[in-house]
Symmetry: C2
Subunit: 331 residues, 2 copies
């Protein structure tokens, strides 16, 4: 066992025993996507089954952080411990006052039962979607009753993170654009609950009606057990309607299970295995790019003597080379 793997396992043990410092360090380790991430997460996974993971997403400026802050408050009033994973937007142009948002969250920074962690999307490529989910599960294993993941739902990465959530609330504002755009963004597919925030503004009621129409058009298949996606009106800046969001999320979470639900869950888990494999294979490709048999091929390409596609095919279609590049190699 390598050193960082030993460290990872020690941190995991300490975290599972309730060590808050170990929790913070373990999150950092997982955020960095080291070689021991999957081993850490396998132990974590077994311990996070009872945690309720809520996803909050929507366009920039919709008031997601304010709503998250209100949800934390309501949960604390019900004596529930909370973990918050806030995914910072990958682009500053998407708007929103990140700093202001975080300041609002400071209400909860002194509460030992609330743990808030921001993950940044800069430079982490596909790894962020996995890091976000893993951190949510670590909070669960640490013993948080509820974990809230907040992302800006503008990119595939952010939508991918939402797959870890048991219940997803999509927050919109009347200015978010018409509801056809909601469909185009793929938000209709992931919403278990719609929130039209800033409902004191013009167009809020119309947006609610449009969303309801769209949802009813989509339904079709539903038997009597089918979850009806509610559309809530809120004014989060003064807390109005936010407790209904929490109640809606809980109602969704506690709905009776059905076949489709467990099928979807199974399919998601299958997909996740493939993603974890992929991440590890990519890590190995990078890690071993300075050794044979990869190095000489890459050198040829860098010198312009072979095109990158032909080089990749050469590596990929030579089973012996590929096995050497990708084998576990745990000396």
């Amino acid at each position: 066992m390598k050193k960082n793997e030993r460290d990872g396992q020690a941190l995991t043990s300490a975290m599972l025993e309730g060590d808050r410092v170990a929790l913070a360090r373990l999150i950092t380790a997982v955020e960095n996507r080291g070689s021991d991430t999957a081993a850490i997460m396998s132990r974590v996974y077994a311990r996070c089954s009872d945690t309720f993971i809520i996803g909050i997403t929507g366009p920039p400026g919709a008031g997601k952080s304010t709503i998250t802050s209100c949800l934390v408050q309501h949960l604390r009033a019900r004596d529930q411990s909370v973990g918050v994973v806030a995914i910072d937007p990958s682009s500053p142009f998407s708007g929103g006052s990140v700093l202001g948002d975080r300041i609002r969250m400071q209400d909860h920074f002194l509460d030992p039962e609330v743990f808030i962690r921001s993950l940044s999307t800069r430079g982490s490529h596909g790894g962020l979607a996995r890091a976000g989910r893993d951190v949510a599960r670590i909070f669960g294993a640490y013993g948080k009753d509820v974990v809230i993941i907040e992302t800006v739902g503008v990119g595939q990465t952010e939508l991918d993170i939402m797959e870890v959530a048991d219940t997803v609330a999509v927050v919109l504002v009347p200015e978010s654009g018409d509801t056809v755009q909601v469909m185009k963004a793929g938000l209709l597919e992931i919403a278990d609950l719609f929130v039209v925030n800033k409902a004191d503004r013009e167009g809020a009621v119309r947006m609610k009606t449009e969303l309801q129409t769209m949802l009813s058009l989509r339904a079709g298949s539903g038997g009597e057990d089918t979850w009806e996606v509610p559309v809530l009106l809120t004014e989060a800046h003064n807390g109005k309607g936010t407790e209904e969001i929490l109640n809606g999320c809980l109602a969704h979470h506690e709905r009776p299970g059905d076949e489709e639900r467990s099928r979807n869950r199974g399919q998601r888990l299958r997909e996740e295995v493939i993603e974890i494999c992929t991440e590890e294979l990519v890590r190995r490709l990078h890690e071993r790019s300075d050794d044979a048999p990869l190095a000489p091929v890459l050198e040829r390409v860098a010198r312009g003597e072979q095109d990158p596609y032909a080089a990749a095919l050469e590596i990929i279609n030579n089973d012996v080379s590929l096995a050497r590049v990708l084998s576990g190699g745990d000396e």
Copy 2:
């Protein structure tokens, strides 16, 4: 050789001989990321070396499409053939009037020397970055003198696509936010040229000054051969200043080569080999997820009998299984 590979090679041959229908079909094939993509692209790559690839990126609503349209016009006036790859934003919330943009481009739809293709970001995960680059190269191999790739620079995928460009112009507007945000978005690193569009609006000159200051702070290392990133003021809606963008791009493209430049190019190509390998490995993982040895593991996970991390480790650390899953397997 499988059927789709035969088709791919026939299409490639026809495209290289100038068949416009084959070009369109080949682009679709590459957009779909079939198993023959790398083989197609290896043939394409050898033929696209003389093409100048310009990248246009920046926040939504900066006027990128209008500028692209102006560049096409200037290039046509110089008797250059042009291919345009427009990457549609992954999110409707990022703003911008996609339809309106495309309508503006219609000026060029009847010109046989201009070929415009939109790629959509919906549902294509990491594949889009590769598809965008590949399509640019196909245009090059088809014989286009210049290829323009236009993306909304708000996500990692969009920035990744820009790596195929020889010259990147970052388009901003005075309202894009302050220049610190430009840095945060990673746009400073990729810009060979800044364009402050809608320069008749308040704050344009201040933005230009700020950008210049930031660029001068960064420089440092530069010898006399270092490219100085220009900051241009334009009003693209009436064509003002857009020819200077083209001239700036050409000046950048024709600058004397230096060691750092070829080192960066080599590094990018090395990285690209790894990306192509990764894409193919992921394809194989998915393709073979219904066969042994993957299928029984995935089934166990779907039934909740094993956690996805442990399952992935089991596949990844068993060299024999892994080889079976990932081998070329070209019966």
